[in-house]
């Protein structure tokens, strides 16, 4: 009877708790005729699909009704009954402590429910002092050392106002449950087909900071959420609930980005991701977040801060040192004599020690145990510890474009062009993710290309052809290296795929290939140049070539919003005749770039010449 009476009040109150409306919020419209279990809030707290038929949370322990996963009303009734039950339980095992966000919502609806804050010790301890802390979403830059991290990673984090406390606050991570030492190929395959379970986990932030920033050398971008006290309480309570949920992991669209976005949506007007999207990347969540509004109608992001990785910190600090300090470091590394460091004034010398500590840790991580480096570290520490306590003053870190300012991850491009062998053509390119050498904005590795399953179809007078498919294409050059021993910066590439050759007399050809190259690069102002030597193995082409060696030089220029690249290569075929060894020149430029489009112009020449103009759409 009590439940029925409360339901009546809930229906009345639901009209007072309508979600703010906006141009994007049509899916959140709540009318007074809705029952509480039909509201967007209830649907989002339980992670029901948009049609409200099934929760994406798979473990039955998350539901208090036996059919709660499929019946929002049954789950609502069971929740209300459990919350109002007078049955005595241990404080932390009471349903209110397991589902504090539901309790907060039911309180908002006017039900008489005990406050989670008043009885849930473990929950209170987990979130700490919410008055001082804020909530953030952290983006870890893409990392080429692990296929699962190519596209960046994101974490939900409770953020404390000072750095020491911040390391000890709790963070929420989402990922697949993968057995130790899983084969990477098996990992990718099983990740694609739903072969793993997935859960949230909670850890002190220092562990993530150590893993991502100090070991994997990834910049961390902290997007502080612009929430009021009520929204903070609701979101942190929902994050706590998420720790007891389980899912099936799909690498492309039911991954960390998707599920952490679902978590955030309880305090936002808009949906951040669409459940039908075939690809959900971490960066897409930040792009959506940059345009989203909180329930109270505020922009969702209050502030964005970048924490440079250990590598970036070392290089940025080194680059700002005066010449005398740089010389002192070079002298020390060449002679192991600290005389030139001690000759500096105190402030300069402690800056040098700081840079050298980061440099040595960076090299130890990159190169593993090295007796000489370890000895150097010991000697430097023994010397620095005799000086007085002080922190060197450093200039403000380099300003970089935040990750969400780059173009959206998925590409569809239409090109019109002409080839003097094959005539005019129309080409359609599709790339699920992510960027190429001409991409601009934040969220990408500078002067790099990273794509998977990039496909191009061409239609010309001879019919339609699969022009190319890049199963994987990574090309990168590191031009921010300090130049010190062990930090020279290299250019490298790895590409696997299939491509038609329309520039030589070997056409028609359509080889499967794998190629890998290594080289060096340099940067002057807006110009980057790198040279590379690439080895290529392929199915035999028309000249029966299976192996190629390809020296190349690439020039990238970024000027006034227009980015251009020219690549000059000289493919050497063992069996080929002289005319087949012609220099291959390819140039392209990108203009009018935004998050959703750009215009591409390209020209290529080897034996034949090809020109094309394309319009790209990013989504």
């Amino acid at each position: 009877m009590k439940i029925k009476r409360n339901l009546f009040f809930a229906i009345l109150l639901s009209s007072a708790l309508q979600w703010p409306t906006s141009a994007h919020a049509n899916t959140h419209a709540v009318t007074s005729s809705l029952h509480p279990w039909q509201t967007n809030m209830w649907q989002r707290l339980l992670h029901y699909t948009v049609d409200g038929t099934t929760s994406e949370i798979e473990n039955s322990s998350f539901f208090l009704a036996s059919n709660g996963r499929y019946d929002p009303k049954a789950e609502f009734d069971a929740t209300l009954e459990a919350f109002q039950s007078s049955e005595q339980t241990e404080p932390d095992s009471h349903p209110i402590c397991r589902f504090p966000a539901r309790a907060i919502y039911l309180q908002q609806l006017g039900f008489s429910i005990a406050s989670p804050e008043s009885r849930c010790q473990a929950f209170n301890q987990w979130h700490g002092e919410l008055q001082d802390n804020v909530l953030s979403l952290v983006y870890a830059d893409g990392y080429l050392g692990n296929p699962a991290s190519f596209y960046g990673h994101l974490l939900f984090k409770i953020t404390a106002p000072n750095a020491a406390h911040d390391l000890l606050t709790n963070s929420l991570n989402f990922g697949a449950r993968v057995p130790d030492k899983e084969n990477p190929v098996v990992y990718i395959l099983k990740g694609l087909i739903g072969g793993y379970g997935a859960t949230y986990s909670s850890n002190h932030y220092y562990r993530y900071n150590l893993n991502y920033s100090e070991v994997e050398m990834r910049d961390l971008w902290q997007y502080q959420l612009n929430l009021n006290v009520e929204e903070k309480a609701l979101l942190v309570a929902h994050a706590w609930e998420m720790l007891s949920t389980q899912y099936t992991y799909y690498f492309t669209n039911r991954n960390c980005a998707y599920h952490i976005a679902r978590l955030l949506e309880v305090v936002l007007q808009e949906r951040l991701v669409d459940e039908k999207d075939p690809f959900v990347l971490p960066i897409s969540v930040f792009t959506a977040l940059s345009m989203a509004k909180t329930q109270s109608g505020q922009p969702a992001i209050a502030q964005i801060t970048r924490k440079p990785s250990r590598q970036a910190r070392f290089r940025e600090h080194f680059s700002t040192l005066p010449l005398s300090s740089k010389k002192a470091i070079e002298d020390y590394l060449a002679t192991s004599d600290m005389q030139s460091i001690h000759a500096l004034d105190f402030n300069e010398s402690i800056q040098v020690f700081d840079v050298l500590f980061d440099y040595i840790e960076f090299r130890l991580i990159m190169e593993g145990d090295d007796a000489q480096l370890l000895q150097m570290k010991k000697t430097l520490q023994q010397s620095r510890i005799t000086l007085r306590i002080a922190s060197p003053a450093w200039p403000t870190p380099e300003q970089k474009a935040p990750p969400h300012t780059g173009h959206k991850p998925t590409l569809l491009r239409t090109q019109l062009g002409s080839n003097n062998l094959e005539g005019e053509f129309l080409q359609v390119d599709f790339r699920p993710a992510y960027y190429d050498l001409l991409s601009q904005g934040g969220g990408i590795l500078k002067n790099s290309a990273l794509s998977m399953l990039e496909t191009a179809w061409r239609i010309d007078q001879h019919g339609s052809h699969l022009q190319k498919i890049d199963v994987l294409n990574i090309e990168t050059t590191d031009t921010t290296a300090s130049g010190l021993p062990g930090d020279q910066g290299i250019a490298w590439k790895l590409r696997i795929g299939k491509q038609r050759d329309t520039l030589t007399n070997l056409t028609p050809s359509n080889e499967f290939f794998a190629e890998s190259g290594i080289g060096v690069g340099a940067e002057w102002s807006n110009i980057t140049v790198y040279s590379m030597l690439t080895g290529r193995i392929q199915t035999p082409d028309a000249a029966e070539s299976r192996f190629l060696l390809i020296p190349s030089v690439t020039v990238l220029v970024n000027w006034a919003g227009v980015k251009s690249v020219c690549q000059f290569s000289y493919p050497l075929r063992w069996q080929a005749m002289a005319y087949q060894r012609a220099l291959k020149s390819q140039c392209g430029l990108s203009a009018f770039a935004s998050q959703t489009m750009d215009v591409r112009l390209s020209i290529a020449h080897q034996v034949h010449t090809e020109l094309s103009l394309g319009l790209s759409w990013y989504f």
């Binding site: 750095a163 000890l168 986990s201 893993n211 100090e214 402690i350 593993g368 510890i385 306590i389």
Partner: protein, 150 residues
Amino acid sequence: MKKIIITTALLALSALAPAQAQEKKLNAWQHCGIGAMIFTDNGVAAAISNIIWDLGTTAVTSASASEESCKGNRVVTARFVTETYNELENEIVSGEGAHLSAMLTLMQCDVAATPVIRAQMAETVVGSDASHVVKAEQLFTIAEAACSAS
């Protein structure tokens, strides 16, 4: 009224005392598996570098202590010191840093203990050839003693 408050406080303290005493006796490295944590050559905990793969579940293998007793603040501090020892060592050498402040926070210790910790570290740990885990335990002991004295 004052009597009631004092009595309640004493009762609370006496209830807490055995647990604290038990935790004081606990050696996190021996009893909570921290000493058995695997570190790579350059001193990075395997459990840390594996976060992406294993979701960062903390690998506390409790040999002789109960799981509950290994969740105490002292054990959390011991784990923090071990996992971030590289950062802590460099920060102690310089005398300042976020990890050092975090360790002092976990030990409920005043920043005034820093010079003492630094001096002790200079004398016995910095420059020693001991393993990463052993040096972490030495730092923990030095810091705990310095904090008690401060």
